[in-house]
Amino acid sequence: MIQHEWPLYEVFVRAKRGLNHVHVGSLRAADHEMALHHARDLYTRRNEGVSIWVVRSDDVVASGPDDKDAFFAPSGDKVYRHPTHYSIPDSVPHI
């Protein structure tokens, strides 16, 4: 028998207005529409969301854990990007 495995989708849920969509897990569905319905049934059974995104897992482009150091190195040595890099006397207010 031929096994028709549906593609994998990643699910993102916005818990309430004003918050970002957050990744909550994945599911299998035949198409986008079914993925949305399944995501609603699976991840928002108790009012966990007001908005859902689904995206095919094989469309996600991700950085690898192995290139962690080199990939994120450009921000590693730029301490001057942080406010604490600058010393201001305590006597100066509101800064």
Partner: protein
């Protein structure tokens, strides 16, 4: 050299109590053990729909039907969260289902017992889900990130399962003498299998040491079993039922309840396939898979056709 570095990173991550994430390097043994642990848990949730599902049409009121329906739907949801976690390790959920149906992967032995009366629905919520919560709360700190996150969702929902069961039993205990007898009978049948849910005694659990080192198991089987017994005794008293163990009593020196010897030959028998319901549970799962095949194929064909136009 790279392999050595990867192994050091893995070990250091676990020592710092941080999580391993899907694309991190991990030892083959860790990956295999995690897939087995998560799949067995997922299968248990899916097979676990059957004992209570059998009572949905016979629940005594619309309220109880709605509760039971929501609970069984949660079990399906838990199974799906867990298959999702297993897939992050490279497993394929279709393949996992086939392994379940072919008897190559296991599920919790507790679901191989029959549900003879509606009181069983309450006792499953109270004792079986109570034991599951004992097992699962520490797994919210599993070193494998996707599993830990799935467990957090599951534990939140299990609390509803346990409370609806206990409330159902309280209602029956306030009813007729016959209803109270049904509750006591269900407790008598489920108590010992619930204790077996924690697995063999520590002395006969050879994988425990490795699993504790990897932080995919946080307490030993006997520790969790003791915790469950200590939790259940006052709950049984409040309910007005007797736990079927003449050796059960408080031990002041240990600060825990002592309890009688567990019949481990029964657990072995049920795990190896000879429980009262093993054959039926798997036959039902196989039938659902086979009878649903045309729906999955039709949906895939429909999606393919729409994508082409």
């Amino acid at each position: 050299m790279e392999g050595v570095m990867s192994e050091q990173t893995f070990t250091a991550t676990i020592e710092k109590d941080q999580r391993i994430e899907p694309r991190d390097w991990m030892p083959d043994g860790y990956r295999k053990t995690m897939i087995r642990q998560i799949a067995q848990h997922a299968h248990s949730e899916i097979i676990g729909m059957q004992p209570e599902g059998a009572w949905i049409t016979r629940a005594p009121s619309l309220r109880r039907k709605a509760i039971l329906l929501a609970k069984v739907q949660d079990e399906a949801g838990h199974g799906l969260y867990l298959y999702s976690a297993a897939e992050t390790l490279g497993a394929d959920r279709g393949d996992l289902t086939r392994r379940l149906i072919e008897g190559r992967q296991k599920y919790s032995s507790i679901f191989n017992y029959p549900t003879l009366s509606f009181a069983d629905v309450g006792v499953i919520g109270w004792l079986v889900d109570g034991a599951a919560i004992c097992n699962q709360v520490p797994l919210c700190r599993s070193s494998y990130g996707p599993y830990a996150r799935a467990m957090i969702r599951i534990c939140k929902e299990e609390s509803f399962h346990q409370r609806q069961g206990y409330e159902l039993l309280m209602t029956m205990m306030r009813g007729t003498e016959a209803q109270r007898e049904m509750v006591q009978d269900a407790v008598n049948r489920w108590w010992w299998p619930s204790l077996m849910m924690f697995g063999p005694p520590d002395a006969e659990s050879p994988n425990t040491a490795q699993s504790m080192a990897w932080k995919i198991k946080r307490h030993t089987n006997d520790e969790l079993r003791q915790r469950f017994v200590d939790m259940s005794v006052p709950q049984a008293e409040a309910l007005g039922v007797t736990l079927p163990d003449p050796d059960l009593r408080w031990n002041d020196d240990r600060g825990h309840h002592d309890f009688g010897a567990i019949d481990w030959s029964e657990l072995k028998r049920v795990i190896s396939g000879d429980g009262p319901m093993n054959t039926e549970r798997i036959a039902n799962r196989r039938r659902a898979d086979e009878e649903g095949a045309w729906v999955r194929e039709a949906a895939a064909a429909h999606a393919g056709k729409r994508a082409a136009t």
